[in-house]
């Protein structure tokens, strides 16, 4: 299946896909400081992938998309979230031990390395949402037999 988009869309997509990606990473990593967080940032990064899929077509996407990697990344995101929740299991499930007595992520509130496990959980949720949405979109794009 060849891409139907013209030269201008493709060139603009080349320039903007990294910018959408880094903006999504900013939203995810500052989830404890500014509006946004794991889901919003992950959906933003998935938007960059969907822009790639639409601008360059399914043929190009199929060359770069490996569903084993994306499946593993989605599982990894869920596992990291669970691992962070179990860190303070000595007191309670979801006890924020990194914030109360942790070796890192216990900085001054308002700085990047504060709020205990929250930044790590945001990164995990962002990774999971990104991998899940990209996998869903590629699966829908790959479903090409249209029966009347």
């Amino acid at each position: 299946m060849k891409s139907d988009m013209g030269l201008i869309v493709k060139t603009t997509a080349r320039a903007t896909i990294p910018l959408i990606g880094i903006f999504g990473a900013y939203v995810v990593s500052h989830g404890h400081l500014t509006p946004g967080g794991g889901f919003q940032g992950g959906a933003t990064i998935a938007g960059a992938g969907i822009l790639f899929l639409i601008a360059f077509g399914f043929g190009e996407m199929r060359k770069r998309y490996d569903h084993h990697i994306y499946s593993a990344l989605e599982g990894l995101g869920g596992l990291v979230f669970l691992g962070m929740a179990m860190l303070g299991l000595g007191v309670a499930f979801f006890y924020n031990t990194l914030w109360h007595s942790g070796p890192f992520f216990d900085g001054q509130p308002g700085t990047l390395l504060s709020a205990g496990y929250l930044p790590i959980m945001n990164l995990a949720v962002g990774l999971k949402v990104f991998a899940g949405l990209i996998s869903a979109m590629v699966a829908i794009a790959a479903y090409r037999r249209w029966k009347e």
Partner: protein, 165 residues
């Protein structure tokens, strides 16, 4: 090389987004986090941005883009006033014309097409590099078969050829 181009391109946006984390400057945590995230983004998109994108790392080219900004802005102001005049008087003669251009690569076509679209009254419909032409929807066609883009875009083609080279 395209890895470095994407890395710098995304790190600059990170620095713009996180400015003010220490006074008006950046805290060291934000700088380090920016390096990590930009490296991830650059690794993931290094073959998306195109292999010749590193030519835009040339500072001479940045000066060219800065010099182009007032030219484009002044063209937009003039064209907006012209469209306001046409809205009031209703003197329009719309049509799609084929404009031959003398450009070589994708970036030049993109810069010229976006400049034409940004100046109101003209709208790029399609860019055909194989026949070296743009198809432009024009609000007031004065020349049905223009020989160059001079009558539509003024000096924009010269700028696009220089900036995208």
């Amino acid at each position: 090389m395209s890895f470095i181009a994407v890395f710098i391109w995304s790190y600059v946006l990170w620095l713009v987004l996180t400015a003010g984390s220490r006074g008006l400057l950046w805290s060291s945590q934000e700088l380090v986090a920016g390096v990590i995230f930009s490296a991830i983004i650059a690794f993931a998109t290094r073959d998306v941005i195109g292999e010749k994108a590193s030519r835009f790392l040339n500072p001479v080219k940045w000066a060219g883009f800065i010099a182009y900004t007032p030219v484009l802005f002044w063209g937009m102001v003039k064209a907006n006033l012209d469209v306001a005049y046409r809205v009031i008087t209703g003197r329009i003669k719309p049509g799609i014309v084929r404009v031959p251009v003398d450009l070589e690569n994708d970036a030049q076509y993109t810069i010229l097409s976006n400049s034409i679209t940004l100046t109101p009254g003209t709208l790029t419909v399609d860019a055909c590099p194989e026949e070296k032409a743009l198809y432009v929807h024009w609000i007031n066609v004065t020349d049905k078969e223009p020989k160059s883009s001079e009558v539509i875009a003024g000096s924009f083609e010269k700028w696009a050829r220089r900036l995208g080279r």
